[in-house]
Structure formats: C-alpha cells, structure tokens
Assembly symmetry: D2
Homo-oligomer: 357 residues x 4
C-alpha cells in the first residue's frame, strides 16, 4: 500500500489534505468493549490544535472530530472506527503565489517529481495538519492501554533551539504552551521564540516521550522490534530527523560496564536501555527522544527554483509555527500509543498461552 | 506476522539461531533478469564474518552461502530466492553456565518472559549472527540498485567510544578492520580497543551510511516515509539505540534559515535534509547515522538474577566482540539497500506513468 | 489487521454500519493523474442502490458519495482517496424486536460470540450495505483499468433460483432490474420472484463476471495467484458460497485433452482456463462465476434461540431483498476490478523492466 | 510481496523449484511451547509424496524434511521455523525438449510473458512440487490446532472424473491411494484411472475437506472472512478451478426457508452454511469442496506454439499424475489448517478479553 496505514493488528489508515474538504482516518482492530466517545478523542485534539497561543500558527480550526462507525451504545464493537475532521479555514489564496515554485526544505519538489502533480494548497498531503488524524487515533490507543493494562504515556519538550529544558515534573506539562516539564524556564522559552519570530526565522526542538507501566514481553525480536517500530513511527512525523531510545547517541561513548543495566531481585538498577531489550519491552519505562528540525516555511527571501528550473526568490508568508516542535508533544505521544497498542495485540496473538500461565 | 520479514514488495524473511543448524532467509520480489551468483553475496558476507581480526569475536564461521532457488542459468527468475548458511562453530558448552541466569543488557530476560522459553545457546534468535542473513539479502539489493539505477551505498565508522573519526575518504574503508574512512586514526583505534579489551570492558560506536545516485521520488509521504522505513530498518539492527537522517539531532539547535536547503538551477545548495524531503528522496545523497551501544556481554562480574529471581553475579566469557560496531558497517549498508530497493519497486508500481513521461 | 482492508498496493479500507451515521472507505495507492469526479463513482452506486424496483429492498438511500481527499483539480494526486456515504434511512425501530434473539442464517450469533456485542441495527457491520463502499472503490479501479489498459469488466445474472439464464448479450444487462443478459427471460424472472416474495421466502442466484482486455502477465504464481485473489474477493461478498474460474466445477469431469486450451499462432483455441494459467493472466477473457445463497431474512416464523439459549420463533419483517443476488452484479464487478488493479500495480513493480522491453 | 507468503499472523513463506536444489519454507508466528519433531511433519509429507502407487507420478522423492530453526529441546520457541526439503530426482533432461515451446494448459506461457524467463525444468516454480512445502507447514498448524483447541481436519476425494464417490467413513481414507472415503468404490476408481492413463489422457477430481471442533468466533467480518481466506487458500493450489463452502453452488436453487440453518437450544438444526456465518465460524463443522482440473501434461500430441509464435505439436512425456486430484487431499487439508491457525491467532489478538470472560 502507499504508506497511509500504520500498524499490523491495530491499524490507522489516514486520508486528507491541509486545504481539502476534510481529514480523517479509519482505526481497524480495536478490541470490542472499550468505552469511547468523541470527547475522549477531542481532549487530545485540543492539545494539538492551532491557534491556542501566540507561539503557534494562527490558522483557525476547531478540529472537531466525528466518530462515524465502530461505536454502539458508547462502546467499541470491534468494527472499524471511522473518524472525520472537517477543514474549516481553507485560505488557499495564501498559497496561490507558490503554485509554480518550490519552498526550500519542503516536500513541494519531491511530490511534484514523484507524482507529476503540484498541490500547492498549504502542502496538501504533506502538511502537518495530517497529524491531527494521528492524535485522534492515538487517543483511542491511549485509552485502551490505560484501561486494559494501566499503561500511561507522557511527552514533553526537552530542548528548544539552543535551550536545554531540565526535567522537573510531568505535572506542569499541560499548563504551558510548550509542553515544558519545567515551570521556571517558560518565560525564557517565550522570549526566545518571540525573538526568533521577530527575526522571521524558525528553530528546532527535541521532544521526549515516556511510557510507564508497559508489561514485559511486548515487541518482536528481529525486524519488527518494539524500538524499530517506535523509530519508524516517530520518524514518520513531519520534521523529525532523529530518534533515540534510552541512552541513544550517548551510548556510543559509554562502556558496557556502565550501559548494560544490572538486574537485582528488586528490579533493574538503571535504565540505559530505555525499557527495551532485544526489541522486547523489559517492564521498565520506555524512553524516547526525537529531534524536530526548524520549520521550513519562514517569511524571509530564500533561493529556490520554479517548475521550469529557473532561479527564484521565495518568501513564505502564510501562517506557520515558528517552531513545529511546540505542537509536537501530543503527536509523539500518539505515535508511541499506536505502536504499543499494536504490539500488545500482537503479543496476545502469539503468546496467549504463555501469558495465561 | 511475528516480525521476521522486512519489506513490502522486496521482502526478506529470516530464520535461524546462533547455535542451531543453520541461518538463512527468503528474498521475495526480486525482479527477473538480475545476474546473480553465490559469489556476489559471499563478498559482502566476508566483510561481516567473525574472526577476521583480533578486534572481533574469534568464533570460526566461514559463513558460506548457498542459493537454493530463484536463480536459473545465472539470472534471477522472479521466483523467491532461498538462502542458506550452515552454522559450523556451535560451541554451545560455552553458554551452558548461563542457562538459568540472565545476562545484563541482553534479551535473555525479555525472551524468557515473552515466550516462556530460555534458549541459552549464545542468545539463540537474539544473536547478532542473524545479521548475516541481512547482509546476504542486502547484497542482492545492492547489486540490483547499482545495475538498474546506478545507486551506490557505502558505510563507515564515524566514532568509536570517545574517539571521533574525521571523514577522509571512502577509499580506505575496506582496508582496515574498523571500516574507518580515515587511515591515520587506525593505530589509535587499535590501541584504544586493545585497552578496552584488556579492561574486560566494551564500547559503543557510531556508523554512518550514505546512498549516492538515488533518483528523486522514492518513498511514501505519510507513514511509510523513506526516512521512517530507514529508521525502522536501522533500529532493528542489534545494539542500535539511535538513528539520524541528515543533520539529525543537530537540527534542533539550527535556525530554519540555515537548515532548509536552498535550491538553485544547479541543484541544492546544501544537504541538511539528508536527501529526503517529506519522506521522499530528493536526488541528493541520503545520509544516515546510527548509534550502537557497547556490547552487553563482557567478561567481568555483574549483578543479575536467575529464573527464580535470586541475586547472582554473572560473568560472560564466551567469544564476544568488544565493540559490536566494528562489524556493523556492512549490516547498516545492507539495511539501507533493502529499504531503497523496496521503495524503488513501490515507486514503479504507483508512479510508472509519471516515470515514463 | 482486522480484515477491513482489501488489496496489497491498491487498497480499499472500509468502515461503517448499516444503521450508523455513515459508511465509507479509503482508497490508497491510486496512481496520480486519473481524471475522477464523484459522478464517476455515483453511476456505479446507482446500479447497486436499493429501491430501484419492486424486486429489491424498499429502503430509501440515495447513496450519495462525497470525495473527501486525493483529488485536486479533477485528477487523482496519488494521495489516499477518502469516500463518504451518509446513511439516510435508519429505521432501526424495525430491528428492535430482534435485539436479544438471533436470526437463522445470519451473522448475529457469530458476531455476538466473537465480540461480546450485539449490534442489532440491521446487521450492523454484517449488513450488505457495506458493499456500497466496494462498489465505490471498484468504480475507481474500473475507470483506471479502462483508461490505462483498455480493460473492461462486465457482470450479469446467469441463474436465479432454478431458472438458468441463457447468455445472449451484455448490451441488455443494464436495462432490466436483474442484470439479465437475456431480454426474453425477464418476465419469467419477474413472475418467479413475485411468487417467491408472495410465499414469504427467498432464493439464491448465480452471477457471472468477465474481464476483457487484461494483458498477459498479471498475477503471482504461488499463493497470491490472480485466481486465488479473485476467489478471496468474491467469497468476501455477503451471501457468496462458491466461486469458479473458467470451467470451474465442470472441469472435474473433463478430460485433459478437452480442458487444456490449445494454442495456435492466432491465439488460444478455447478458454476452459478462464483466462488464468498458473495464477497469471493469459490475455484471454477472465471468466468467473459466483453462487449467492438465498436471503436469510425472510418474513416467516423460524426456529431460533435468544441470548440465554432459549428456543424462540423468529420472523424477520424489515425491508429485505427476496434475492440478494439481484443487486450483486455491480458488487461482483467491483471486486474483480479491485483485484485486477491491485495486480496491475504489483506487476509493474516487479516486472517493469520486462514490460518495457 | 510477490505472493510467496500466506497468512497474516501465522505465515508460511515458500521457496524452491521443481528441479532446483531444494524446496522449503519459513513458518513465522508459531506460538512457543508446541512439541514438534521432523517426524510430525514427515508423516504428512509421506501422504503427499510421489511414487506411492501406480496412479501417481513415478518420480522418486523421499521428501525428507529438515527443521533448521525455531525448535529447541523438542519444542517450538516462538522463533521462525525454517524447513528444508532437498530435491533428489532432478531428471531435467526429460524436459529439455520443451525449452522453446509452451505446454497447453500450463503456466509456461504466462511465466515467460511475465518474467521474460523460461525455466523449462519441470515447470520450475509452477510445479505442484511446491505443495510439499504447504503440507509441511500445514502439519505444524494441524498439530497446534489439535493440541490447543481440539480441532481436527480431514479431507477425502468425493468425485473423480465422472465418478461420484458416496461418503461412507473417514476411517478408510488413508488406506487407499485415492483418499476415497468409500471402500467398495476403490476398484472402480482404479480401473477407471488405468483406462484414462492407457488413453494417454487425464481427468479432474473433487476433494472435500472438513474441520471439526472449530470454536465459534474465528474469522473476520468483511474482507478477511474465514470463508474468503479459505477460498483464497484453496484456489491457490495448483489446478484448482472452483471452491465451495457449505451448500456452495447448490444454494443458488435453494429457498431461504431451506438454506438458512435454524437454531435450537441443542444447536443448529442443519449445516447448509458450512460452519461459517458472516465470515465467522459458527461452531459447526466447516465444510469445503474444491474442483481440480485434469492434469495439463498428457502424453498425446497437442497444438501449441513456440517462443517465436510458430505452430508446433507438443507431447509431454515425463512422469505425470494422470489425475492431480489423487494427491491433492493432504494439500487441501494443509491449506485449511494454515487458514484456521492464522485466524485462531487473529481472534486471540483482538478478542482476548471476550474469550476470557
């Protein structure tokens, strides 16, 4: 398939363009009996939606989700769950001036070469708007993981541009526009991003995600390792350029005597592995970091070419996030939830008899 | 499936344990007409095989591959290609002492909890020995990519432990046991690794891989992005804890005005993107970095537990690589080749008419 | 996945229940550049929709389709095509009396045992209403196959109950409510079905489908044979109990000297194979027959049980087709189109170089 | 993938040609803990192997299977099971005379057009020899289904050519070369087939398969229905031209009041459905019929063409079964076992919580 489906047993198939009629998706494989309402999904969508602070795009979208199927009398039935989010603010005139040129750092050029088509309306399918579908699907996975296995998933921003954000507490994460786990640093983040925006520039971010309560045994050993699937899911998020599990790139300079987590009758003595050994969850917290590049669309003149290959100067005005990482936390959480739920089901299939003993 | 198959159209299905009768695999989806002999595969296997220097495990394996099917009169037929590598050196007595205990940092514990089975013979399925199958499959992909599209794939070690390895030239890579692209630094790497081994410890490594000549247009836009599939493939390699494409984690602190590669009539002005935009190849070099953790099996006493949960002290003697990254370069190349060939075929399927115009 | 997706490269993912908010689907993998409007799909939906004659259910559904994505300026873009059909006539009160009992011959019982849920609203997901999504997806496949390869697909009723329908011409098929390819027999079919309905009973049908112009070479040799995938697709239609390709069950009593189609410089001398040899299209017409069982929902008392296992007498009133086969012709065409398009793309992927020489 | 893998969670990937070095396969997804030896598989292979009576091909193959991986200390480990069967009797000189011509009714022509390659050695990949791999894989599925769920699967010949074989008992099936469930008719079958062979001709057969003890709830509702997957699996067997479930084509002429199986507190009152309702097993016996065409390779002159399109007369001598259906019973059983085991696992994944209550 053309890559618009994620998952093996719990699958999300996504559709929709930034400036088309709607975006949406189909969840297939959700077990029956999960209590589910649109409100359960909306709460996650609202964390991602645009226009919630001056630090994100001012596009106006309520991102209201409709559950079209798969739920009966308040519970999932085992049938596919159709999800629909109508686009409301489709000011495609903002983009008309770029119909024949390519924005540096954007997918305009590669889409055009691949498909022979230039959908210039805000990036079309390549827009980060598609991530709303992921957040919607992830909300279902999160709820099931929590209710069935007590798994919780939390993300936070751990770096913005040059500013490292020391971790303090998950409690503060949802109370500031950056998903910062550190209260004191928020004013600094605000003034930093105001400055970036004033300079008509953008900046990257690092997001961390943690899953707690994952039972030992989820994941497959060779190709579909839990960490490999997490890497796939995270790298599929727009603007992500790197993924780490546990100690990540820091493990290169570590000694084995330091990195390898010792075990005691009371549990593991450390967690450099990030909760995954040999591709399978160990029962420790699963810890993931991702790197997001700075937003490509910036309101300053940049060298580019047009369809005919002529040199042009491009300036993207539109309504763009100065740091795409600011809204990425709910997306990263959703992707981790999708992967974990898929592997929970896969594990039940093959190892049901082991589980039951 | 249980995750022993990689790919959508060009697939490799792998089987075999470290100390079982054999390892092997099945390639499905190889186009007909590719000239192929066992020697084409053997040359890559010989780059990965153990015992080639004092810096790697001294296990004796010729890693001789037999092509069982799919080739007729020297050419691929379009039928599945069966590959078989018999295990020769199965000194499982080396491992008998660990049958009831778990090695820190290893998959022993998670496999046992998942499957209810403890295959103590050198890690069984979790052994890095399985990567020989990947190298064999990757050799076929490499050959096809080269002959059909002129794509070449090269890897090298860019860091070992604390030692950064400045890139000089690909020419030198196959002429030293570390796959170092820098000749002068090799003596330092040798003495460093000798010291690590003398300290009965191990160390990590960073491997870089580059694909040159990839046409614009390979990859899918949303979930099965080329970079997402590369992240999956790389993270599925034993001991890998991180994956970057292009600027990777460095892009967090970059400005958009720096990161986004400008375009000119002569081509891109830089390559922070690592050759992939919106999940689709841009025609630039595809550049990937991976982080490998230090070998978990080290010959010094470490805290662990046994099956009954009692505290034990474990010391792994056996014959282990002091730095698993030393042999990882051919594996990383193979994984990139597998992903690229799969996406070459996927692109032909959907966009054949665009390609032809 | 839970089986709501069909296809490998050209996929249709379906959602929706008979009496929910909507039914719909997502097409993934459609090549870019196909001219497509809602009207192209509507024309096929109108052939299947209820209420078009007295011989089918009188439920009122306009079956109006909305294309939500994947089409820009009148052409497919290569992005997934979201399709939505709102349900209009949801008289679920008709079904309230069956909430605790199981209709003989229906999926009520198996769904309840599988999912622990009883969605009594007209069969919920098991309703034949889902086939509208197939017809919508098939319309896209049909159009692409026709424009790109000149392939045409036609179905017709070849038997209803005890009445065999001698083939005369495809021209007449769309001009009678039975999709009969024989004009003279239509009055007999009408009076026959009136009689069945008057007897409060139902009857089965055999539908034949033919694909013309399929190039030689589509299909895979071993498991995913073209005929195997056709069998899968056809047997997945509600009420289908048998599938034949070419001579089908009649080939059991044939001699090899009769069955095996001889070849001449002018082409094949016969077509007992039904256009498929070794799982691959031969260039001849592909011919398929399917058997549909009589409608299970009939307005006469029948023995059944309730959720507690007590004996009950069930009588299904509602608004049901007395012969589900009457509306099955467009569905069978759609399924054949979906399979052929998928294999056209698969063939291009693996054998593009052969095709081009 | 190119269609050499069957299954979603319990998968068999097959490789090998009739006259290559070996045939074999990889089973992925087998749960851990199943007691398994080569003898468990060999017993099924011996039922299918050639040369066991004068009524089948006299090719000499011991069909000795080697388990290469996935079993440790007599039990499956959850790792992939590699299976290898060396080819022993590769008299490819028998086939040399057909290297440039196409055998009527055979896949020679379609393979050549698809792949641009003519592997004339006994059909290469299209040979029925590949079905040994299916039987090997099916043996594992059969054993697991029996031990874990008490499911048993039995096949028998129900028609050979014009001769209908009235069912008497499963007990007699393995005691005659035809897998006839009727002892008295065996002499008639023998003399009939002797006559066919003397006439240098071949004939078709119908095989019936029954699965007993399948729990209610296996299967998926829409596309991956249990009957759809059975139809796929059966139609993928060489020479199969038709598949029926339950009443099959006879249901066309049935009334709903007859076909729909009534339910009582003691169970279903009949089984026209063949054990599947709405794509999901009902707990009744699953009953399937398949039609096999007469062998295409017959030792009499037939019209054909060569690669250049010239008219030729072909006569296939070699060593062929006069009725491919004679050895098809174990194959059909294996295919049913593969499908059922796959769906058993799929059901556990999604509905584990329902099952457990």
């Amino acid at each position: 398939m053309s890559g618009n489906t994620i998952g093996t047993l719990f699958t999300l198939t996504s559709f929709g363009e930034s400036h088309g009629a709607a975006i949406g998706g189909v969840i297939d494989g959700c077990p029956p009996g999960l209590a589910l309402t649109a409100a359960d999904i909306q709460i996650e969508l609202d964390r991602r939606k645009p226009g919630t602070s001056r630090h994100v795009t001012q596009r106006k979208e309520s991102d209201t989700v409709e559950i079209l199927s798969g739920v009966f009398e308040g519970k999932t039935t085992g049938a596919p769950i159709g999800l629909l989010i109508r686009n409301e603010d489709q000011r495609s005139q903002d983009y008309g001036n770029i119909a024949d040129t390519f924005r540096p750092g954007h997918a305009d050029y590669t889409y055009w070469k691949k498909y022979g088509i230039r959908d210039y309306r805000g990036g079309g399918r390549s827009s980060a708007r598609e991530t709303a579908v992921r957040v919607a699907g992830g909300a279902i996975a999160k709820k099931w993981l929590s209710e069935r296995y007590g798994v919780t998933i939390h993300g936070y921003m751990s770096q913005m541009g040059e500013i490292d954000i020391p971790f303090q507490s998950l409690d503060f994460v949802n109370q500031n526009p950056f998903f910062s786990p550190n209260a004191e640093i928020v004013p600094e983040l605000e003034s930093y991003l105001d400055k970036i925006r004033a300079e008509r520039d953008s900046v990257g971010a690092r997001i961390s995600v943690i899953a707690q309560g994952v039972p030992v045994g989820w994941g497959e050993p060779v190709y579909d390792r839990l960490d490999a699937e997490i890497a796939y899911a995270m790298m599929s998020i727009n603007a992500v350029k790197g993924v780490e599990v546990g100690a990540g790139f820091a493990s290169v300079a570590q000694r084995g005597s330091v990195h390898s987590d010792e075990m005691t009758p009371q549990g593991f003595a450390s967690n450099h592995a990030g909760g995954i050994l040999g591709g399978i969850s160990s029962g420790q917290d699963i810890t993931v970091n991702i790197a997001l590049k700075p937003t490509s669309s910036i309101p300053q003149g940049r060298q580019s070419i047009d369809k005919q290959g002529n040199a042009v100067t491009m300036q993207t005005n539109g309504r763009h996030d100065p740091c795409v990482g600011v809204r990425a936390t709910p997306i990263a959480e959703a992707m981790l939830a999708l992967v974990l739920m898929d592997h929970a089901l896969r594990h039940r299939a093959q190892c049901a008899d082991v589980i039951n003993t």
